[in-house]
Symmetry: C2
Subunit: 182 residues, 2 copies
DNA sequence: CAATAACCAACTAAATTAGTCAGGAATTCT
DNA sequence: AGAATTCCTGACTAATTTAGTTGGTTATTG
């Protein structure tokens, strides 16, 4: 199991999704602008996340990505593993043929360590990070700074799709604010 | 904190050192042959391990590398950190200036996760792996297969340096066996 | 002196990461 | 129906990292 910037981007983006999940789909364009990651690169990462069944894509205007499962059931380990396909812990990939057909020390060492590490990261869920004090507030502040009226826009769409109970006044208010910016 | 093959090689090599530590210095040439890693690449890795104070080099014939501390006081985390200098957990490297001078969500997330991970790997020492049942035997088997008479050679040298209490008969026996191979 | 083995620096090749480009397909809004 | 939005796809490029190479120098032993 590797731990690289690739996995970091993915976890970061998934966190973003988890925070805004109540407000409906989040577009990659928003995440890209917000976190300073290239849009197309995000698309590549999300292609894998989708294939792994961690997120669901919703096409068309008002669409975006949503968590396929509750944030409390998505672990950091799952996210990292799904983008880092190269999970060859050992050199022999299972069968101990590294040294004249026999297991080398490395084999035992890394399967063991890797298991422990995986176990550890499996115990940490997205929800645990979202619920940390301060995070929702911090997120909302930044959303406003870059003119990201996620709530209004998504909930407006949500009416049509009949997915959420929404506050119509709030929607109208934020949509007006968005217009005023233009 | 990254977790790559580079760190893996280092941990593997350090394990080798720890196993044979009783018998004195281990040459990089031995590790190279034994584990199939390029000699010069190992040299690069050990340069860092030495600068981090994890190993000590002993020059000249009979020399090699030794652990600078007991295996029970060297953690996996230390090894990985010393070769993976690129420990920029966040993009901002400390000060939260990532997004218009303010901390981004990522900042909190990764310092937090990284701390936990580091803590976890700090709790695992080299000694814990050396002492796992089967490892010393497995190691000795392989040593013989590639004609690595570590014990005899190193201890013969050790007499001169007055470092160890040695079994002279064993030394003579293995040295004879080595000669016979040629 | 010759052999050994750590040390050192600069260079190359392969792989991975990060980003770009140019479109296509599903969905919604007007 | 047509325009706008957004996911989705594949192929291509640049930068960085990993892995290995070459060609030495220095300390130590015998
Ligand atoms: S890595 Fe599995 S036997 Fe060497
Ligand atoms: S990474 Fe530290 S503020 Fe963004």
């Amino acid at each position: 199991m590797r731990l690289s910037t690739k996995g970091r981007y993915s976890v970061t983006a998934m966190l973003d999704l988890a925070i805004h999940d109540k407000a409906g789909p989040v577009t990659l364009a928003d995440i890209s602008q917000c976190q300073g990651i290239s849009l197309s690169y995000l698309e590549q990462l999300f292609a894998r996340l989708r294939k792994s069944g961690l997120v669901k894509g919703v096409r068309g205007p008002g669409g975006g990505y949503r968590l396929a499962r509750p944030a409390s059931e998505i672990s950091i380990a799952e996210i990292i593993c799904s983008v880092d396909e190269n999970v060859d812990v050992t050199r022999c990939k299972g069968e101990g043929n590294c040294q004249d057909g026999g297991k080398c020390l490395t084999h035992e060492l890394w399967t063991n360590l890797s298991n422990k590490l995986h176990e550890f990261l499996s115990g940490i869920t997205l929800a645990q990070f979202v619920e940390r004090p301060g995070i929702p507030e911090l997120s909302m502040q930044r959303d406003k700074m870059i003119g990201r009226f996620v709530l209004a826009k998504k909930q407006a769409v949500a009416i049509n799709r009949g997915v959420f109970n929404i506050n119509k006044e709030l929607v109208a208010k934020e949509l007006a604010a968005k217009e005023a910016l233009r």
